[in-house]
Symmetry: C3
Subunit: 276 residues, 3 copies
């Protein structure tokens, strides 16, 4: 736990409505000393996979003990479960719909997963004693997940004593598919950032063999072909490829937007050919 408890929020609530602010109000009421940091509230509405990717790629910046709350929750109020997951160095809280699945380290033990007690049935204002607050059927981000995070931040471990979840829903991990004898990586664009950089599912760890054996990577996107990597956005000219700060292969346009130049869209194929 850091000197002051640290809670992050990632949602699809946007910031035009007051939903994110309401979550912070609830947290401040329970644990006034917590620092709350917005990862983003601009996940596209109900796009669980995009949320999972943005959560996974932001984690390394946060210190041990951080509590990460994530809410992209098309199933709110239905019988999907709520999860609280404690790993060696952090805690994740959110719905059991795959949103949290990519953030867990591979060595995470199944018994780290706990179900958060949720109200059931048609009563929209059940008060589970564990939460100590009326719960709406439509805003578990505020009434359940923010409450659980704040309770834990305030030192109340009871909230972590839910029943063992046994397992969780997962979205497929963000990795390229390896084809042939590892000479081709089939990935796709998973995120386009504000600069028009195309973030792909090809992870740096999948390119290690090439680095060792001296194979030359050739990146294919649309009808374009990019040879080799640069180290940073300001190097080279035109379209370039590089390993971004998130650890994934990105296609960028020097002093421009690769997304605009290529008319790129989320989901579009990006292949890496490893040439001897």
């Amino acid at each position: 736990m850091p000197a002051r408890p640290l809670i992050t929020l990632l949602t699809d609530f946007g910031t035009a409505d007051t939903y994110a602010g309401q979550m912070k109000g609830v947290i401040a009421g329970i644990c006034p000393d917590a620092t709350v940091i917005d990862l983003t509230h601009a996940v596209l509405p109900q796009q669980v996979a995009q949320g999972a990717f943005l959560l996974e790629t932001a984690l390394d910046a946060f210190p041990t003990g951080t509590i990460h709350v994530a809410v992209v929750d098309p199933g709110v109020g239905t019988d999907r479960a709520g999860l609280l997951i404690r790993t060696a160095d952090r805690v994740f809280i959110g719905p059991d719909n795959g949103l949290l699945s990519c953030a867990l380290p591979e060595e995470a033990r199944p018994d780290a997963l706990r179900r958060i007690p949720l109200p059931r049935g048609v009563d929209a204002t059940v008060l589970p004693p564990e939460l100590g607050r009326p719960v709406s059927s439509t805003f578990h981000g505020r009434d359940i997940f923010a409450v659980a995070a704040a309770r834990l931040a305030a030192g109340d471990e009871a909230i972590t004593h839910g029943t063992a979840a046994g397992g969780m829903l997962a979205v497929p991990p963000f990795r390229a598919t390896v084809r042939g004898r590892r000479e081709m990586l089939d990935g796709h664009i998973v995120h386009i950032d504000r600069f028009g950089n195309l973030v792909t599912t090809v992870h740096a760890s999948q390119l290690r063999r090439a680095a060792v054996t001296g194979e030359r990577p050739v990146i294919h996107v649309g009808s374009e072909r990019i040879e080799g990597f640069v180290r940073t956005y300001g190097q080279g000219a035109g379209l370039v490829a590089l390993i971004g700060s998130s650890g994934y292969l990105e296609v960028a346009e020097v002093n421009g937007s690769a997304a605009v130049r290529l008319g790129a869209r989320i989901g579009q194929d990006v292949r890496v050919e490893l040439v001897r």
Copy 2:
């Protein structure tokens, strides 16, 4: 007062400009220990009624002692007054133009309203000793309202000793009109959230009689007709109606956007018919 003073901000300043950040800088200079939470800065420019609605519907999430600053202020620098209103459990600060009127509980006593001393006349940099900082004619959010909130958060009650306001401007309360012998509620869409949910002026409290007498609600919006309520967004299919987390009737589209499906706009009629 919570363990750390808590101040919320609601404005129409957006977040592309530094205006909201400047308010926080002023607050940090006066009361470094205050926690500042953004409710929203995306009220449409100068739309006082929208601001009043977003303020009212966010309040319940905040603990006793919170200081709520709201600035949607087309009359800045003219002779509209500034208000500081202390209710049983919170404080509101902002211009006297209706923005704060819906947030007050019905039992609020008129003597809770105080005018904040404001500079007058053509001098743009008058220094009212109560505020201790030059005041621009164009940015009372920073120079008057943020200062007043921070002073109060820092324990300086002098700022609350302005003259009694006697009354305040009010926007009409957000409630549907009851027609006939309560068999019809005439409301309208007051807010469309990021998910395309249509938030209406029909308040849950106006539907209690139906719940007691067993009348069946039928919701009319555009040429559509929705029978009964669901409990949450993920229930049913197509267009549904439900009581949202704000306490108002909402029209939603399961796994979609009601706003897009209906081409809905703010101000559009929504009627609830109570059928025996």
Copy 3:
């Protein structure tokens, strides 16, 4: 230094990605007690001059001791230097590309400029011992500038002991050009805010002579001609001119948007004629 260390962030990262959140995570890990305030993350991608203007015009709201981090950094990872600049009452941290140049007071001494140690060459994960964290080639905002700010906020002065920079890149100061015998000020629109107000490079200090000599200002923008100033946005009717809260001449439309009415764009000429 204020009671709690205060750090501001100004970037072109937007808030849809998690980049700004990651900077805050790094800061919280090093100096959990720091308050972090967003000035804006909506500088247009890589528009250094716009960032310089928004930084300069926000400073007055912040208390002595504030640490201002600014990152609009098309040259990230190339051999552009990083700067840490200590003035009499604040500290600036960011790339040496002009972004910080307008924020410095005129009396700032060159020896206040220090280079922040940066990694060189092709290794994307060099670990400079001064920073204590791996450094990516593409995200110095997180890995170098946020780290430096947090270290300093935590009381570690070592980070300020870089080599003297000797000088820095500068963008031209935001001032109108004086023509003839000061009877004409040639400026341009440098920023359009959320309300459609046109903020110009004509600074209040350039209009003092007119105030003293009684000359009458006539503002020319597009084919429009505005006589004299009003004191605030709610005064007068139609197009008006006034000194905004930033200290610069603004053209506004009462109860409307000057940007929409005039079809105005950044860079467009605005002239002030001083008429006897």
